[in-house]
């Protein structure tokens, strides 16, 4: 990957903001960005994970180039604070990576609670909207343009690849990506999305690692285990000047999953269990899932009035 003898750095002196930076794809991207010479402020809901990342960075240059803010991306003031911190600590923002997301509402759509639907959209869609809004404001204020990258998902493009509400939030991210790209082009701000396929993060396999590997062998053409660093190197490309003519795009990082049309719809890991449960999951935020077992006949709607 980045074991080249790179003395310059592809993001030399760039200032980047990453949400959901304390684990998974966000953390791998943080590491890539630092390696390439950027200064990074990352936010995460999970303060414990964030502090852990800060401690793990060896003292010296790398430590000096990072700041952490505990935040909830669905709260506008938190996102404003994140951008303000980046500007005050490191200067004008060049790159914003709106990556924070949760698995959110799970279970059959007929059992999905409105609260769970809304809570999924609050983080995955409103969080990205706020990151684009305030990231763009910071870039416009400075006048130097920039690059915004959003984490969408193959589930935002194709049916059958993720939970019901989650997939809808990611489709919303893709729509925001296109329209923001058009609206912000005049300010030389590029907006793109990455669409990870099966990536082995705690959020990605949801604890069902072996089952996920088995499903990946069937539905994913490339015999490569998708790791956060695979997505991070794509984010690096979209964040750097290398991609200066790319905007409004959704780049799949999925081992060929979307290209594989014929066997696209296949039961996902835990599909059978998920039919029998309904509830809300919060990814790596530290918040415990609230899931209840569905018993046939128990739910009111199942009875004819």
């Amino acid at each position: 990957m980045n074991n080249n003898s790179n003395t310059e750095g592809r993001l030399k002196d760039k200032v980047a903001v990453i949400t959901g930076g304390a684990s998974g794809i966000g953390l791998a991207t943080l590491e890539h960005f630092l390696q390439e010479g950027a200064r990074v402020v990352f936010g995460d809901m999970n303060a414990e994970n964030g502090d852990k990342v800060m401690t793990s960075l060896s003292s010296g240059l790398r430590r000096e180039h990072v700041r952490f803010l505990q935040l909830d991306v669905s709260r506008e003031q938190d996102v404003i604070d994140l951008m303000t911190l980046a500007e005050s600590e490191f200067g004008p923002i060049d790159i914003v990576f709106n990556n924070a997301g949760i698995g959110g509402s799970i279970g059959p759509l007929v059992d999905t609670e409105v609260d769970h639907w809304d809570a999924t959209f609050e983080v995955n869609s409103r969080g990205v909207f706020l990151g684009i809004k305030h990231g763009a404001r910071a870039m416009i204020r400075h006048g130097g343009g920039g690059s915004i990258i959003n984490t969408a998902s193959t589930a935002g493009i194709s049916g059958g690849t993720g939970p019901f509400a989650y997939s809808a939030t990611k489709a919303a991210v893709l729509s925001m990506t296109k329209n923001a790209a058009l609206e912000l082009a005049e300010h030389h701000i590029r907006v793109n999305a990455v669409c990870p396929g099966i990536i082995f993060t705690p959020l990605g396999h949801g604890g069902l690692e072996e089952e996920t590997e088995a499903v990946a062998r069937i539905i994913q053409p490339l015999d490569v285990r998708g790791e956060p660093r695979h997505v991070a190197s794509a984010v690096l490309y979209l964040g750097s000047e290398e991609s200066a003519f790319i905007t409004g795009e959704a780049l799949a990082v999925d081992g060929g999953y979307l290209a594989n049309g014929l066997i696209a719809v296949h039961p996902l890991p835990g599909a059978e269990q998920k039919k029998r449960y309904s509830g809300m999951t919060y990814g790596t935020t530290g918040k415990a899932p609230t899931v209840r077992k569905l018993q046939s006949g128990q739910d009111k709607w199942r009875h004819h009035e």
């Binding site: 790179n6 310059e8 058009l182 490569v224 190197s233 991609s243 795009e249």
Partner: protein, 272 residues
């Protein structure tokens, strides 16, 4: 090499993602192909450069050498399958390995209006733009698989994804290239060979000049402005921006990316 070219290549951050790899580039004598060959060479790759313009190829060889890489040239018409076979074997004989293939050679054809194109033109477009892409990918499998993987990048076009006046036959061939790309991606995944396509929008190449003449033969400056006005970023791509996407997709930075059709179009394809 012009000073602008050198400026660009020295500004890529000194990355050497393709060190000691061998990359075959078709249509390498000019435009996107030349930029891709030089970009790959700057990242450490040895190049097999294919083109029908021997004179331009010779100057490319010396430019690649200036960048510290080796370059073997194959002169020939890409629509002659013997040329395709020869370029694939040169990679093996000259460098002993094949890691990357960039199918860039293509013709825009006459860009005739839909209703006036002749059958001969149809056949010629397939022979130049499609068949060599298919054949070279067939021949690339064995040498790449022997080295436990490789990467193929086909230059398709935004015309593969959208309709536009005057480009029906060109668009058809690029649509075919896009489809060959996803099918090869599926078939070659088990050999760890990744296959992707770059879909450029308008790029500053001789083909752009042709498009300008179709739009407004009397005022190409105005035509250029008209083309740029259809692009959210309000300009055309440089060949280096396409070459950068090619290098990314060839490199291990894209090791989990296959079967992707990547527009490099300044946002033009945002409008479906």
């Amino acid at each position: 090499m012009s000073s602008a070219d050198l400026d660009y290549l020295s500004g890529i951050g000194g990355i050497k993602r393709l060190a000691s790899r061998t990359v075959v580039v078709t249509g390498a004598a000019g435009g996107i192909g030349r930029a891709a060959a030089l970009r790959c060479a700057a990242e450490g790759a040895n190049i097999v450069a294919v083109d029908c313009d021997a004179h331009a190829l010779r100057s490319l060889v010396s430019e690649v050498n200036q960048l510290g890489s080796d370059c073997s040239m194959v002169e020939g018409d890409i629509s002659d399958l013997a040329t395709v076979e020869s370029m694939m074997s040169v990679a093996e004989t000259a460098f002993g390995r094949l890691d990357g293939l960039v199918n860039n050679a293509a013709t825009s054809g006459k860009l005739s209006p839909f209703e006036t194109a002749e059958p001969e033109e149809f056949a010629r477009m397939i022979a130049v733009n499609v068949q060599p892409v298919w054949r070279s990918m067939q021949l690339a499998r064995a040498p790449m698989a022997r080295r436990k993987g490789g990467a193929i990048v086909n230059i398709a076009s935004l015309a593969a994804l959208r309709a536009e006046r005057g480009v029906a036959l060109y668009g058809m061939t690029k649509g075919a290239v896009a489809n060959l790309t996803i099918n090869a991606a599926l078939d070659y995944a088990s050999a760890n060979i990744r296959v992707n396509a770059v879909c450029p929008g308008p790029v500053e190449t001789p083909m752009l000049g042709k498009m300008e003449k179709i739009i407004d033969a009397s005022n190409t400056e105005a035509a250029r402005k008209k083309i740029a006005s259809t692009i959210p970023l309000r300009r055309c791509a440089t060949v280096w921006e396409i070459a950068g996407a090619v290098a990314f997709l060839l490199s291990d930075d894209a090791s989990f990316i296959t079967g992707v059709l990547l527009p490099v179009d300044g946002g033009k394809s945002v409008k479906q």
